[in-house]
Symmetry: D2
Subunit: 368 residues, 4 copies
C-alpha cells in the first residue's frame, strides 16, 4: 500500500505585522565562562523560533530543542547546549516571545489545533478510553510516507519490547523493511534482546511460553559475560552467532544504535555509553535528523528524547513538522511528557506488545 | 482553629448586555409521553443556567445537575430528571447557551479560572507529581467553614476506607465531630465496616495487623447473615452490639446514609437500595443540599454523584459555589470525571488511607 | 483454521484415600428464616466441591460460584444464593475443606499449576511487561474450540469497547461469526453503541476521527430519548433503523443480552434491569452455562461476574474447566479480582481496543 | 517517643544437617580477563550466602547484592561487581543453592514469612486497597530504632519530593533530626530543590500556591546556570545564599549525597556524577552501610538501589536484616521491583507527598 500522507504546509510568521515591523534587533551577550550563559539568556522551546539579526532579517533557528541557547555565528544562528557554550560566544538574550526583544516563537506554523467551543463538553482529556484507531491509521500512513520519502524514523525502546516474542519479532521486521533509521535504548533492551536470541528468554522467562527456565536468572548474566569479551557489540553478536533479534537486525541493516547506560545496568554490553551527557550528545545527533519518533514503554528515554526533539525540521523543500508518538500503559507518562513541554506528542495508551504487533502487521504484513 | 475561609462572591450575568437585551423568550414544548422529552429539549449542565420566561425576566434554575430537563412551572422553573417528566409538562427547548434561544449558561459566575499565558510552559496537567499541600489546607479550611456555617458536607466512600484501621477511625472521628452531613456508599463499605466492628477484619484480613484470619473469608458472610435477620441497618447494628465504626457513628449522630446496591454485592445488608434509579433519587436528595462533597476511592460512585452535583447552591444569602473533591490513586479517575463534565472537581491523587488520616488530624486532632 | 485445543482431563479426588474413607457424612441444618443461613453454614468457592451425603457417596456440586450455600435436595445438591434460601431448607454446614466435616474442596482437578522452585527468581508477578503473545494464541485456539464444540462464550463489556470504531466493529464481527453466546454489560455500553450507530460518536466524540461534534454532548441524550419511546430494546433498535453495532448484531443473531442498571446511568434504555439483584440473577443464568468468559475494560462487571463464575462445568462428557480472561489497563484490576477469589482468571494487561481488534483479526480475518 | 523495635534474631543454617555435612568444598576458577567471569560462575542473590572454603568452614559473604561475583581472597570472601573482577582472580563457581557445590543460599535466616494455608482466601496480593497503617507504625518505630542505635538510613528520592512545599519541608526536618545518613537522587531532585529555595517553584510552579510563575520555565535553567559557576554543590549553595531545602540541610548536617546523572538532565549541577557506573559505585558504597533504605517516587533509582542492597548486614552484634521500603503510586513499581528480585521490599502504595509528611509528623512532630 502506498502512502496517501501529505505534509501540512508551513506558514511562516507575517513579518509585515506592525508588532514585528517595529521589533528591535535581538541582543546578545558573551558567555561569561565555558558552559555558563549570560544573564537573561534566551532558552529555546521546541517550536520554530526566529531571531531578528539585522533590520528585517528574521533568521529561523536551524534546529531546535527545549532549553538550549542560541549563539550568533556571523549571519547565522547555532542552537547549542548550555553546557557546550564556550566563553565569549555571543548568546542571544531576552525572554519575550512575540518580537519585543527581537525573538519570535512561532507556535502555529502548522495550523492551529482543531477545537470545539461549546461551554460544556465531554471527553476533553485523553485517556485509555479515548478512541485511537485513527491514530494507528495515521501513524501507518505517516511511516509509509517517511520510508518512501527519505524520512528518518527514530525508535526509542524500553526493555518490554524484547520481553515478548511477537513484539520482538515485530521490531525486527520493521527494521528489516526500512521503517527504522535509528534506534535508541538502554543496556537492558539490548541485553534482553541478546538473551532472547541465545536462550529464548527475558530475565529467565521464556518469551513465548512464559515458563521460568531453571536457573534462568543466570541467562542475562551469561549473555553479558560472553558479550563483554568483545570490543564492540558488532563483534559480540557475530562471535556469539546471533542472527536474529533487534540488535542483530540493526547491525545487518546498518541502522545506528545508541545505547545509553544507566544506574540500573548489569554488564554493561560493549558499546553502551557510560557517560550520561555523552549519551545525550549521541541521542541528539539522532534528534537532529529525526522526522518521526516513536517512544515505546520507556518513561526515562521518552522524556529525555522528548526534550531533545524539535517540532520541525528544515529540509530542502522547506519546513516540515516532526512527529512524536509515545506509547505507554499509563496516562501519567503522557501527561508527564506534556508537563515537560513536549506538547506535540501523540499519546497512545496501550501495551507495548500490542502496539508493536499492530504496526508490523499494517506495514509489513501478517505473520500469524 | 477557626476557619478563615471566605466564599467567593457570585457575579450574576450582565442582563443589560446587548446580546441579552435582544434575546427572545425561551420556548417550551409539551413532553409527548411520560419520561419522554420533546425534540430539541434543553439539557442542563451543572453550571448556573438562566431562562428568560418573560421579557427581561431571567430566572435562575433553582438547582442544577448534568443532563436534566427544565420544566416551566408557572413563573418558576423546575429541574427534573428526564425519566421523571410527565406527559404534557412544558419542557424548555433550545440548545444554544448564550441567550440566542432565551437560555443562558453562566460559566464564570465565581470568577474566571486563574491562568498564565506563556506560549511555552511546564506542568499544564495535574498528575501525581503536582503539589497538593495547599489543596489540603484549603480543604481543611473549607470544611471548618462548612461546619461553622451550617454547610452540608457529603462523603462518598469506596470500601477501601474501611479496610484500614486508621482510615476507618478517621472517618468515625469526622462523623462524630460534625464534619459529615450525609454519607453515600455501596453495600461493600457498610459490610466491611461491620466486619471490622465484629471481627477486626476486612475481607478476612486484619485491618491493622494485616494478617489473614483463618477462615476469614467467612467473616463478611457471617456479618451479612446476622444483619439480614433485621429489618433495618439500625436494628442490626443495635442487636449485634456494634458501637464503633462508620455505620454505627452515622446512626448515633443522625447522619443520613444512602447505600446503593450493585451487581457485586453479597447480602445485601438491610437498607441497601436494590433499584439503581431509586438509589439515584436518594443520592440526588443529598446532592440538592450539598455544599461540599468529597468522593474517596470509588470511581463508580464518584462519577455517579459528580453527574448529580450542581456547581452552585442558592442560599438565603445568595448564590454560592459547591465544592467537589475526588480522591483517587489514578489520574484516570479524575480525568474520567472531567470527561463526564465535572470540571469543577479538584482531584487529589493519593491513597484513601492517607487522605482520611490527614483530614482527621487537621480537623479533629492527632490520635497517634 | 481449525482449533487444536484439547480440554485438560479432569482428575476426580481419590475417595479411597484414608482421610476421606473415614470422613463423616456432611451435616446440614435448617435455614432459620427466608434468606438467612444457619450458623456455621458452608459457603462454596468456585472450585469443584464434594459433599458426602451418605457413606461413600460424595456428590459433586452441580454448579458452583463463590459464596453460595449448598442445599440438600433429597439425594442431590443445589447451590443457592444465600438470599434465595427458604426457611427450613437443609443447608450444608461445616467450614473445613479436606473432608473433616464431609466436605471436600478439590483444588487441583485440572492439574497443579506449573512452577519453578529456585530460591531466587525473577518475574514472579505478572505485569504490563509480561509477555502475552502466547496468551493470545491460546485464547484464539480456545475460542475456535468453543465455537466448534458448542461452548458458551460470554463477553462482559465496558463502554470503552464502543468508544472506538475498530473495536466496536470487531465485537460486531465476533458476534456475527458465532464467537459470542451471551453479552453482559451496563446501560452505558448499549447507549454509546446506539449513539455510534445514529451519530457516529461516543459521548459526542467521533469514534474514528476523534473530533468533538458541536453539541455532541446531546447525542447520547437524544438516543436515549428516542429509544425510551419503545417497550423493548429490540423495538427501539428496529424503529430507529439501526442495523449496525453491538446491540443490533446481538438482536439479529439471537444472542442474549443482560444490561444491568447502575447509579451512573442516564436514561436508561428499555430492557435495562434496574434492580441490582435481579441483574445478578440474569447474569448468573449466563454464568451457569458459560464455558469461557472474557471481561473487557470493566472492573465492576468483571468482579461481579467473576464472583458468579464457576471454575468448572459438568457436561455430558464429564467435568471441564471454565476459562476466564480479564482485559484491563491496570494491574490493579487483575489483582483485585484475585483478591476477591477469582484465581483462575488470566489477566491481559492492555487496552480494550487493541485486544478486540486482535481477537477479531485472528478469528474472523483482517478488515484493515 | 523511644523505639520499642527489636531486631529479629538471626538463625544461621544448621551446618550439621546431613546434606551439608557431606557437601563438597566450593570450587573456583580464575577470571579469564579483566571484567570477565569464568564459565559457570556463581552470582550472588541479596540473601545471606555461605561458601565452604575448607572442610566444615562455611564462610558467610561479608556483604551481598544481586548478581555479583564471589572472589576467594585467602581465607575470606569478597563480593565483587563482575566488571571489577581482575584477570586471574579466583571466582567461586557453581549454581546450586543447597550445598551441592559448596554454596548455600540461606533464605530464612530471619524466620519464614507468615502465612495462612486456607485453600481459598481473599487479599492474596497487595494493592492500593491493602491496609498500611501498621506499616507506617512499624516504619516509625524502626526509624527511631535506627537513629538511637547508630543505624544507617538511606533515602532514595525522586523529584516529586521537592515539588511540594510540605513534602520538601518534611525531608528537611528528617535530615536535621538525624533520620537520614545518606541521600541518593538524580540531578532533577537537587535542581528542583534549589529552584524551590531560590524561586519557591518547581519547574516554574509555586510549590505551595500551585500557580505558574510567568516565565517560570526559566527558573530551573537560571538556577543551573548560577550553580554551574561553582566547582562543587557546596560552594554553589553557599554562594547562592541558599539556607533551606534538602541539599542545604544535607550539607549542613554532613549527610553524604550521591547525585547520579541521567540522560534527562539539564545542567547538570556540580557534583552530579556523569558516568553511570561510577554512580553505581558511589551508590553501592551507601548500600554497603545501609541498615534501612526508603525509596520514594522513583522507579529508576529504586530498582537500581534495590539491586545493590543486601538483605542483611554483619555488625559487631551479629547478622541483622536490612529493611527496604518503596513508596510509589503504582502497584507496577512494587511488582517490578519484586520481578527484579528485591523480594524483601515493603511496598507502600501512596503519594510521595503524603508519605513524607506522615513520617515527619510521627518522628519530628507536627508543624501544621
Amino acid at each position: 500500500m502506498s502512502s496517501t500522507f501529505a505534509l501540512p504546509p508551513y506558514r511562516p510568521p507575517d513579518f509585515e505585522a506592525p508588532s514585528l515591523l517595529c521589533a528591535p534587533i535581538a541582543k546578545h551577550a558573551p558567555a561569561p565562562a565555558d558552559g555558563i550563559l549570560p544573564e537573561n539568556f534566551h532558552a529555546t522551546s521546541n517550536l520554530p523560533e526566529y531571531v531578528q539579526l539585522s533590520r528585517g532579517r528574521w533568521v529561523l533557528c536551524p534546529e531546535s530543542r527545549m532549553d538550549a541557547a542560541i549563539v550568533v555565528h556571523g549571519h547565522e544562528l547555532r542552537v547549542v547546549e548550555p553546557r557546550d557554550v564556550r566563553k565569549g560566544e555571543p548568546v542571544v538574550v531576552g525572554r519575550t516571545e512575540n518580537g519585543e526583544e527581537g525573538i519570535l516563537v512561532h507556535a502555529d506554523g502548522f495550523g492551529p489545533p482543531a477545537g470545539c467551543s461549546d461551554k460544556f463538553q465531554f471527553n476533553i482529556r485523553r485517556t485509555r478510553e479515548s478512541p485511537f484507531s485513527r491514530d494507528y491509521d495515521s501513524l501507518y500512513d505517516l511511516l509509509r510516507y517517511e520510508r518512501e520519502n527519505g524520512g528518518v524514523i527514530v525508535w526509542v525502546l524500553g526493555p518490554a519490547v524484547a520481553f515478548d516474542k511477537d513484539s520482538r519479532d515485530a521490531m525486527v521486521d520493521l527494521i528489516r523493511n526500512g521503517y527504522c533509521q535509528a534506534l535508541l535504548a538502554g543496556n537492558a533492551l539490548a541485553t534482553h534482546d541478546l538473551e532472547a536470541a541465545v536462550f529464548g528468554t527475558g530475565l529467565g522467562q521464556d518469551i513465548y511460553h512464559q515458563r521460568q527456565h531453571p536457573l534462568g536468572h543466570y541467562n542475562h548474566l551469561d549473555v553479558l559475560n560472553r558479550a563483554r569479551r568483545h570490543n564492540s557489540l558488532g563483534d559480540a553478536v557475530k562471535s556469539m552467532g546471533i542472527e536474529d533479534g533487534i540488535m542483530a537486525s540493526c547491525l545487518t541493516q546498518g541502522v545506528p544504535v545508541v545505547l545509553a547506560g544507566s544506574i540500573r545496568d548489569d554488564g554493561p554490553l560493549p558499546d553502551v555509553t557510560a557517560d550520561a551527557y555523552e549519551s545525550q550528545r549521541r541521542m541528539r545527533a539522532c534528534a537532529r535528523r529525526a522526522t518521526t519518533a516513536i517512544a515505546v514503554a520507556t518513561q526515562l528515554h521518552a522524556i529525555a528524547f522528548g526534550n531533545m526533539l524539535p517540532s520541525y525540521q528544515i529540509t530542502p523543500d522547506g519546513v516540515r513538522p516532526v512527529y512524536f508518538y509515545i506509547v505507554d500503559m499509563s496516562e501519567f507518562a503522557v501527561d508527564k511528557l506534556a508537563n515537560r513541554g513536549s506538547m506535540q506528542a501523540t499519546g497512545i495508551t496501550t501495551n507495548a506488545q500490542d502496539f508493536m504487533v499492530n504496526v508490523r502487521r499494517a506495514l509489513v504484513g501478517n505473520h500469524d
